[in-house]
Amino acid sequence: MDTGVDRDRASVRTSGNHAAILLVALPLAFLGVFYFYPLFEIFSVSLAPAGQLDPGNITALFSTGSSLRILWFTTWQAALSTVLTVTLALPAAYVFARYRFPGKSLIQSCTAIPFVLPSVVVAAAFSALLGDRGLVNEWLMGIWGFSAPPIRLDQSIAFILTAHVFYNFTVVLRIVGGFWSRLHPGLSHAAQVLGASPWQAFWKVTFPILRPGIMAASLLVFIFCFSSFGVILILGGPRYATVEVAIYRQAMHLFNLPMAAALSLLQICFMFAFMWVYTRLQRSASVPFTPESLKTTQRDIVSNTDRVMVWGTVFFMLVFLGSPLLALVVRSLSTGSGMSLLYYRSLFENAGQSVFYIQPALAIGYSVGFALVTLAMSLCIGLPVAIFLSRDRGRATSLLDPLFMLPLATSSVTLGFGYIIALDEPPLNLRASLIIVPLAHTLVAYPFVVRSILPGLRSIPAHIRESALLLGAAPGKVWWKVVAPMVRRSLAVGAVFAFTVSIGEFGATIFLARPETPTVPLAIYRFLGQPGAMNYGQAMAMSTILMLVTAAGFLFLEKLRTGPEGEF
């Protein structure tokens, strides 16, 4: 008769669950107040602007041509960006999946840098390379004596698409390449021995097996481009507006809050739908094939064809992904009178001619300050959530896991807009408070913290904790003496993630930061929008600094993630 034992166990489990509820109480409260409440406000402002149900805004959204045009533009630019990205990145994915070559892992790390750069920096980099005031135009004018810039990409759709491909190239490279590298070349060989030509073998065997990976990567790129904000706002100019940009203009330029709320609602619905499809797709993407070790699937460069393919691809990637960033650096150093650090020095001098003028160095100070507060808050929210989710608690886990990840599926523009309409009256009047910016950043950043720590926590076998308990360590002690040291590295990864997310955040910050307390991305945006070589140069200098900080953070992460303790 072991029912007594069973009951004991059950009571242990429930008391464990009570403690666990305490663990997630603070994160749940945070999520409720700073995520669901703003979301609810968006709903109520768009559906009932005057306190009563009034679907007028929603019907107006679909009856006026302009919002349909915005939606149509948002969709097709995202679709076209996706097709271009996949087409260009697929050959690179093949090369990275099938060949071993010197410098490969370094090149792979570097190609991921564009993806982690703040959108403002990407926009500035393309402006520095191909814009009217960019390097290429400057050279062409110098060499051929053109009187006007010969390449006119500013405010064109081509400019937007190029930046989107640049941004998302690595998404396809990593997801599809990772998939491909685990696919045994024997499958293709088997098809050839069965009479398929190499081309048939690709279409009948390799491609169908890769398809879920390609679909997942494509959808992810589509989602990123659909919710693109900074790139379109800066490179597209007033002619182009995605839903995100339209929300911003309605709210901040036209002060039409009900319209902005209706657009936000639309955006939220689309993003949730896309994310839902993506999650479904990812589940089916786990094709039941046995992953192979890289040793059997990758080969060295032997023939001249190999050489041309590998180095041609690497050359293309370095030029396409490297030149805008290089142009940014060059442009930030080239003043009217040759190369100098003039723009960098000027960031720290108070020119002060205008009352609106904010010393750029202050923006750097605010950015770092916000990022540090975000880091601390993200760890406070993310760590308990990760600890809670690391043990299987049945339905609680399967319910709370997606709930805590929901902010990932919400664009930062809708988040920022939700904050300004929700947190503007007592008891939560935070509009004038500095804390509102890190609060929004935390909401964007903590899911990354959870995702960084969770695998580390889950990989610790239960019996390690149990043996510490049996050796006399109290549960709290077990955490500090055993678990914490083992996940130190993932904690560091989460912290760096939170910091980099915060320092580059643009979409929510543009709603929330007050004019006198700008962050670096906001300052760059303002400088880019003003005429004059000095403003432009300062925008370039700040973008370069931001790029270096973000890239350094990312490369540090890569090093941490693949360090001697193994990948997680």
């Binding site: 088997a190 098809a191 050839q192 021995v193 069965l194 009479g195 398929a196 094939f289």
Partner: protein, 352 residues
Amino acid sequence: MAFLQVSCISKAFGGVPVLRGVSLALEEARILCILGPSGSGKTTLLRIIAGLERPDQGAVLFKGRDLRNTRPHLRRFGMMFQEYALFPHLDVSGNIAFGLHMLGISRSEVVRRTGEMLSLVGLEDLSRRNVSELSGGERQRVALARSLAPYPRLLLLDEPLGSLDRGLREKLLLDLREILRRIGMTTIVVTHDQTEAFAIADTIAVMDRGEIAQMDTPENLYRHPADPDVARFLGLANLVQGRVETGSSIATPLGLLHVPAHGHERGEAVTVLIRPDAAVICRGDEQVPQGMSMVEGNVHDCLFKGRSYHVEVRIPGPQALFFDLPQNSPAPRVGDRVKLLLSPGAITVMPG
């Protein structure tokens, strides 16, 4: 003209030679087994025959025609890969029909032939099953059916039983042998397992460090290994150094062994192989029959294996010999001093 002729194939990977001038010939409807330890180059040879690798030197000729410029998908050779390489996105029927679709034959013919293959390997009930849901043995059968379906002119099997567990192996080995003989398929099997090779092959080619050390029928190979390395690889461990005394006796540390030493000079240094089935225990008072040899030693270890006793006998000096004694003889006890009679038919003299 041989059905398949492989002549002087050499291949190196990154400067390391894997095959050094391998030649062999195979007649139609015969089964050749390439037997060798891992790293001996046997899989590479198979891939060269299939056209998946290019040899650095040498040629593969099929019915006298050089296949140098025939790409793998046009050779019409079937190949079964070591891990089977089943297509994960197709079901059992889809996998088997793949090669038939490549032939461009009619849909009804594809269905007919697929069904025929399914019943050949006994998997009629699993035709719509996903390949990830199959057991190891079922996968092996699907892979075999898939490679046989498009009427290959030659079948290449790379470790066909390699990834299966032991009990399953023996059963599938017999099935495989039965199927191949029934349809009269010309086949090359690569394996590292001598039992597998003995059971399935008409001819065995033993490969060692990129060369064919010996090629012969299983019986001849077992009875007369060409050199000590081949003998050791076949699991024959009782090798003794000796010197030819007369035409029918060799002096060894075990004493004088009576065995015909045809083709060896008097005084020549030789290696003598005593097969494990050569010995019977001899009671102390028995006469040594004419032509038999007798050795004496202590039983160091004895393992009852059901059909036989596997005994390790230590002869004075460091020499240890291993024998399988019939189980109906009296059980040898560890520590016993025994006399063993060796029959000359189970002793082979090799150079060196």
